[in-house]
Symmetry: C2
Subunit: 344 residues, 2 copies
DNA sequence: GTACTTACCCAAATCGATTTGTGCAAATCG
DNA sequence: CGATTTGCACAAATCGATTTGGGTAAGTAC
């Protein structure tokens, strides 16, 4: 059971059973033609000496250990993987892990694999899922070079149509929230976007600008880094409300849920009543938005569904079943809450 | 660049450079004695033909691809990896992933690796972290058999001291919450525990029972499965409040944060005032508990710290630096909120 | 009795890297 | 000038499995 602390190999089994490694392999995998008694003998001996096949050796031949990598680009630009109050990424990761398991893969979360100190395992994957790549993303370059298949959630804004990708939902969301604001009688809508150069931000801004243009309205677009949290609320209000250069907004769409929370809180402190004087909504909703008071209208981005779809797509890609590069993600649902619900 | 769609190997580089694979390997890794010009030649050629060493082949020799596995047992007993409103596991996973990356490993989340359909990669890990193993956990048996090193967070209740483990914090928490209730004048405290057979539940119940005994109080202990959410609140109250067989509690400690939320909501519906008539606190706090109204007293389990410590311990184990089997986790902090704050 | 199956088992090649030990030429030493 | 060292490169072994292509003996056919 314990010959020098070394893990028993197929050779050890063969020696113990008095037969060749070939037959052991075939017996254990039911491949060749092996006598029933031999199979039983091998199984018994294998169990006795505690044999476990090496996944690496096996993987070397089959060139697959059924491992998927997930890169969440916004997390790389943050300085932490754990932005407080943001559960989107975790839910995505969890859902993707489960979906992967259901397809016989496991999934690991990787920080930028193009970094030089990236662990060996990051390159032993069968395929990658890249969430919201940035413009000309070096991660995609690495994967192309290493001939590792991948799909993206949201396209590389500089390389549309080049790789299999799910559409971002920024345009949809922007359209929906602007209509919602309009229905409530908002006349002047501001947008607060993030600073990452990804498809979601890009799409949303474009949709907003063309909406403004269609209405002959002057755009009121400010940016705050995704790394910053609720505490930029006041700074956003200051920029939007305190200038005499333009008409003040009566509705604000913050793409980041935490920014929305910050704005609502800052408004409360300033004595601006939400929703009566100012409508506020978030793009990517957080748990906070649901339970804060007032609760904040935001989109349910359905990270679980995205995680699952992404895994299914990448598995299809691996199995040669993926026929299109344009994959479609479900349209996020606007969840109306107190911050855009007229009290009378 | 593209000889038949096959990934270039070290042999291809050698052939292209007109030298032997040995020298290529040594040149790229700076190992043997290789002329400077040869090194440069090799590097140039390797880049030209897009050579990326195979992590699997390398791993086969070094028997490590620097990959860690994380098994969260409570998730296996749930029927989903994504219990709504529970962010503890996700935060733990995220923190562990980051910590792993900092040590040059990557980390994957695995469902029970003792299942027969477990992906190959689950057995290609260098080591495992097992969170809250159950009694005589088969996962631990598998790891022992496969000679895969591991640590646990919370001991296997049936095998204390046998494997390197962080202590569970159930006893600490129970002590703290009971003292807190006592200070507030509670005279009759009930406990609602989960049903998983892990150290945390075990410890907490034991601590509660001995506290009751020390005070000559009859224990008031009920259980609800961790899989059930807020909706069991009423059923818990029914069991605790509607019996004439014992004195009704004036404080309830729900080990699961969602159960605490459910109890508070059910109390509101019944017209029982929290905290004035009934104190409620949660063991493992969720985001909901922070933002609900009334907000709910609960422990901050500090999953980030646990995730990080676990990774550091397992890395130490791999490097032979782990000298003890009794690892200590930080004591969770009780966060007092509305549900146990006397209004007068 | 020779030819042909059938049933079983195995030696060797293979996957793609690293490592060990050897060989050879030029440089240095005594 | 012969002996030894040094610098450089490489053939072969190795990691632990799977797969290919035999090979042998017993059984069957005619």
């Amino acid at each position: 059971m314990n010959p020098g602390e070394r893990r028993p190999t197929i050779k050890d089994v063969a020696a113990a059973a008095g037969i060749s490694p070939t037959t052991v392999s075939q017996a254990l995998n039911g491949k060749g033609v092996v006598r029933k008694e031999t199979v039983e003998l091998v199984q018994r001996v294998a169990k006795e000496i505690g044999y476990q096949p090496s996944a690496l050796a096996r993987g070397l031949r089959s060139s697959s250990i059924r491992l998927l990598g997930l890169v969440i680009r916004p997390l790389d630009s943050l300085d932490t993987f754990l932005p407080p109050g943001v559960d989107f990424f975790m839910r995505l990761t969890g859902a993707a892990s489960v979906a992967a398991l259901e397809h016989g893969y496991s999934l690991m979360l990787i920080a930028d694999p193009s970094r030089p100190d990236t662990p060996l395992s990051a390159l032993a994957t069968d395929a990658y899922i890249v969430f919201e790549p940035i413009e000309n993303d070096p991660v995609l370059d690495l994967l192309v070079r290493g001939q590792i298949p991948f799909i993206t959630l949201g396209e590389d804004p500089a390389r549309p149509g080049q790789f299999p990708a799910f559409n971002a939902s920024g345009a949809w969301q922007t359209d929906d929230i602007l209509s919602h604001f309009e229905e409530l009688g908002a006349r002047r809508v501001a947008m607060v976007s993030g600073t990452d150069l990804n498809a979601w931000n890009h799409e949303s801004r474009t949709a907003y600008l063309s909406w403004c243009e269609a209405r002959g309205q002057q755009p009121l677009l400010v940016s705050r880094s995704e790394t910053e949290g609720e505490d930029v609320g006041e700074s956003i209000l200051a920029e939007l409300m305190d200038s005499s250069a333009f008409e003040q907004p009566d509705a604000i769409y913050c793409m980041t849920g935490r920014h929305a929370s910050g704005v609502v809180e800052a408004a409360r402190i300033r004595g601006i009543r939400v929703p009566d004087e100012l409508l506020v909504a978030g793009g990517s909703g957080t748990t906070q938005n649901e339970t804060s008071s007032p609760s904040i209208t935001a989109f349910d981005m359905q990270p679980e569904i995205h995680g699952q779809l992404a895994v299914e797509a990448v598995v299809a890609l691996l199995e040669g079943r993926l026929t299109t590069r344009r994959l479609s993600a479900p349209r996020p649902k606007l969840v109306v809450r107190d911050s855009t619900r007229r009290t009378r």
